[in-house]
Symmetry: C2
Subunit: 374 residues, 2 copies
């Protein structure tokens, strides 16, 4: 089917660009001899997971137990649930483990460690655990100074198996440019190999040293001592990654096809049928303008300086960033445009499937899922 015949708004995935993105990160990590553990929260799609696994990856990371269950049902066995588990989810995690999934949990405190040990005993399983280490004060994770006592507690808890440590240097997103990100990645690496050494020197197990984010995976200069790299957004890329300097606009595999439905009477705004319900509300600053997406023609050709600058539920307002008029003649009602997402995870989460483009032709529709419940 021709892309122009899709009803709007629709989420479009360019499979050629996606494959390029996958190969790019995988070659990089292979050269550094460290495996990639793709974070599938970005796509929540079995077909995307298989496209990554086709290049040889085995383990995956997920952000919800629903993802863990769906990907386990699709044949993935080595799954890291990369969010510190809430107590009320332990029974569900134990059930996955009992069914044979090699599920590893993230833990960052003594309370949840004790409750995990109780759940393991109650359900008669062994729960594999990584300790989340806070490397930059950004979010969750244990203070490195408190790591050893927590590791000792976990290692001595029947039913828990300590596998190692994990971190996420979220502060990479505060950087501009690859050099800054590379420094964040190197600080994370040094801290994590120090933490691993501390555990091993104390006779505690630490087979896994897991780090990751797309920017640090792309910009880091060394992975020595790291046993796996997690990254999610790399598979699609987005305007945030482009602004960080870790991809180009042409590397963005995702777009929202929309239609022009009107023109503001001031002559400087197009109205399109992609609002926040199709794009999400993630935004970034381009100079002084807050933007919610950049515009391409339906065929993917960039329309420089056109951006979505305002959103309602089903309306997007498109303006020229230099304030030029947008003529109805040039963009008549019904014109199809493609919006490049600010944040691929967020934009994808507003849709229940991907219209997959192979060499400019719509080939398939791949379903995606959201939600949390079993």
């Amino acid at each position: 089917m021709d892309i122009d015949r899709l009803e709007t708004p629709s989420l479009i995935l360019d499979a050629v660009v996606m494959d390029h993105n996958i190969r790019r990160l995988q070659s990089r990590l292979r050269a550094a001899n460290v495996p990639l553990r793709p974070h599938l929260k970005t796509s929540k799609c079995v077909q995307v997971a298989r496209a990554i696994a086709a290049h040889g990856e085995r383990g995956i990371a997920v952000s919800t137990l629903r993802e863990a269950e769906r990907f386990a049902a699709a044949g993935f066995r080595d799954i890291l649930y990369a969010v510190v588990i809430a107590p009320d989810k332990l029974a569900r995690a134990a059930a996955l483990r009992a069914a044979g999934t090699e599920l590893t949990l993230l833990i960052d405190g003594a309370d949840i460690a004790r409750r995990a040990a109780m759940a393991a005993a109650r359900h008669g399983v062994e729960l594999a655990v990584l300790i989340e280490v806070d490397v930059d004060g950004h979010r969750s994770g244990v203070d490195p100074a408190a790591l050893e006592p927590l590791a000792r507690l976990i290692a001595s808890s029947p039913g828990l198996r300590l596998r190692g440590i994990a971190s996420h240097a979220g502060s990479a997103y505060d950087c501009r440019g690859r050099d800054g990100i590379a420094r964040v990645a190197e600080r994370e690496r040094v801290l994590m190999i120090g933490a691993a050494r501390l555990l091993r020197d104390s006779g505690l197990p630490c087979e896994v040293v897991s780090v990751g984010s797309t920017p640090t995976a792309i910009a880091a200069e060394s992975f020595a001592g790291i046993t796996e790299v997690r990254a999610g957004v790399f598979v699609f890329n987005d305007l945030m990654q482009a602004q960080l300097g870790v991809c180009a606009f042409e590397d963005i595999a995702l777009g929202v096809l929309c239609s022009v439905i009107g023109h503001h009477r001031a002559g400087d705004r197009l109205i399109v049928d992609a609002g926040w319900s199709a794009l999400s509300q993630d935004s970034l600053l381009e100079g002084e303008a807050r933007i919610f997406g950049r515009l391409c023609a339906a065929d993917g050709r960039l329309l420089p300086d056109l951006a979505v600058t305002l959103l309602n539920q089903e309306h997007g307002i498109v303006t020229h960033l230099a304030g030029r008029p947008l003529a109805a003649r040039e963009f008549p009602v019904g014109t199809k445009l493609r919006v490049l997402p600010v944040h691929a995870c967020a934009t994808a989460s507003m849709h229940d499937g991907y219209q997959v483009l192979e060499d400019g032709v719509l080939a398939e529709r791949w379903p995606r899922f959201g939600g949390w419940a079993p």
Copy 2:
């Protein structure tokens, strides 16, 4: 079931508060002798639609053709598709019309009017039309000065039936306090009754004069000359409506139940398992703080000054707005909290159903839908 046994995150709807909200707006509009046309884009839920219709409403407004189709299938017949229609959706609209739904479309330009007339002829139906009038330069709609020629074009197009005019005073959301909103509503009313008079004086039909938004519906002082009021958010309410001064925190019927999953080592932040994937990224300014939700205990009791101030996909960061410490003792891991949404439409859109609370007890689960395709 007890609310404390729900797995988190979950979207909770307090049916008692919702019923209060419905009755409140309906009594107000009944006293003014103007019917309410509820905008169902907020709930996208047949059970919520029926709860409103139980109080006597007949017509509804929707923001997508999927909503129109789902609500038509559930027995609603008088449906206003309240977004200017894109050309590629005309065939679908004609099919709904052919199947007996009294669907009315919104049009704001000659191009789309001509294409609608062609679609009507092609599908052998009559398409009912309101002209969207731009009352405040906010978004879409025809310049009032260009209304008459467009009305004449539509009235003279075989296959189109001009029913009247509609407006949405989006600028009400830029106000602080009811007085400012009441002034916006009065300006909209005066402009719309003037526009209606212009059409009628020219012998053009204008049986419908449709205005609406939750803030103006609650704050307007007169509806004289208006034939229907559209409002959506009123059914749930949210922090944005509270900040505008048109509801109190106790009138917010929606909340996201979450669990505490950690404590930041600085001692001033809780980490909960409701990120943007559960709350949306809609935010508002409280003083100088940007917040993504306010916190209640699981039972709905407000925890003053606690707010979600940072979001990742599955993580929310809760801080005290006055910077006080948040003790792990007071909020141990596993504590259930309820987040009041900034924008009910956006928060609800992140979930596929409502856990319905009747007098504090979970009574039912009502499904909701998203998306656009047939």
